[in-house]
Subunit: 213 residues, 2 copies
């Protein structure tokens, strides 16, 4: 499999973790977001959504959208799993994933920050305030959901690593990069640090990718 990504893309980071976790053979292809390569003709022909990541299997069209890809890997390579067995348990894990993938990431990603600065005249400092505002609200929601779900054990879902951890670790990485105060979220921070230390997560870290600048 070929994963089109970028070292700092948190959505590609999710996929790298899952590919390492499941021990699948894959190669990375770097698509630079700051250089706009995700909007260049070559990449748009492959994934007309013009976003990262995209996953390509030999002779097949590209598949896009990171949560769809996580589920695709789960269905095609169920072991080792990243989702629990029961429908309710899966919904609880997916709900956590979507706090990151729907509530935090889309509002804070590069294209939105660029639009705020370019079209709406926000300063660099303003856009950092924006970033921190939505990240804090999303992490609050994630932490409160963990509490409501009666979290116990090492990870988001007891002692099993799931898609929720796969989504959380890149979100916490991003939050630290933008110096979001993590003190109000002790559960998720502890979980993210434990998960990030696992070999599959460590291998997927942005700093360990060939295109890391």
């Amino acid at each position: 499999m070929i994963l089109y990504g970028y070292f700092r893309s948190s959505t590609a980071y999710r996929l790298r973790i899952a590919l390492h976790w499941k021990g699948l053979p894959w190669e990375g292809r770097a698509v630079s977001l700051p250089k706009g390569e995700h909007r260049a003709d070559a990449y748009m022909a492959l994934n007309p959504q013009g976003a990262l990541p995209a996953l390509v299997e030999e002779g097949q069209p590209a598949l896009a959208q990171s949560l769809a890809l996580l589920d695709y890997l789960e269905e095609t390579h169920p072991a080792p799993p990243l989702l629990p067995q029961g429908a309710r348990e899966r919904a609880m894990v997916r709900s956590l994933c979507q706090v990151v993938a729907c509530d935090i990431h889309p509002v804070t990603n590069l294209r939105v920050l660029k639009e705020l600065r370019g079209r709406w005249g926000l300063s660099e400092a303003d856009s950092v305030e924006w970033y921190r505002h939505w990240t804090a609200e999303g992490l609050r929601s994630f932490e409160a959901t963990l509490a409501m779900q009666g979290r116990h054990g090492a990870f988001c879902w007891g002692d099993a690593v799931t898609q929720a951890d796969v989504c959380l670790v890149p979100a916490v990485f991003n939050a630290r990069r933008y110096e979001v105060d993590l003190a109000p979220y002790p559960m998720l921070t502890a979980i993210a640090d434990r998960a990030a230390a696992l070999p599959a997560f460590a291998a997927a870290h942005p700093s360990r990718q060939p295109d890391a600048g």
Copy 2:
């Protein structure tokens, strides 16, 4: 089942369609977004994410996040289906869902428009420009993905109604409400209009909900 929603919430609209499609018994509970009821103590105790929709089965904690809930309904009530059988086909449908649920909705929803106007001083007209900008880019991505997937038949996935149609119809409803020019997206517009005419979709329309103002 009890669905906590709001007639104009496009994420609750997705759930209403799926519940009607699957013929499940459910009751609606209105939570007014403009009145801020989704942040009031009563609702936060139920769903600490403070967002719509939430689904409650008797004696069980609430489940949240609309895509997680669509998958939950699919796993617990697989017939009639809203996902195809094959893993690749499911990934293609989910990819379309996530264009709506990750690329369009989170950047254009009420909390973001409020923040733009309240904290960043955008005018009402500015916030409509913002809304149209991201909706247009998301619909472009959706239309291009349909084309790349070699779309044929009545709906997003051949002649089978899927989660992609469930997500698309509310997105097109919203786009029309904000007078987004739909001319560049003839495939998705035709699909949305066909799907919206089906009884399950029609019953879920915002104008037909008891809390419609």
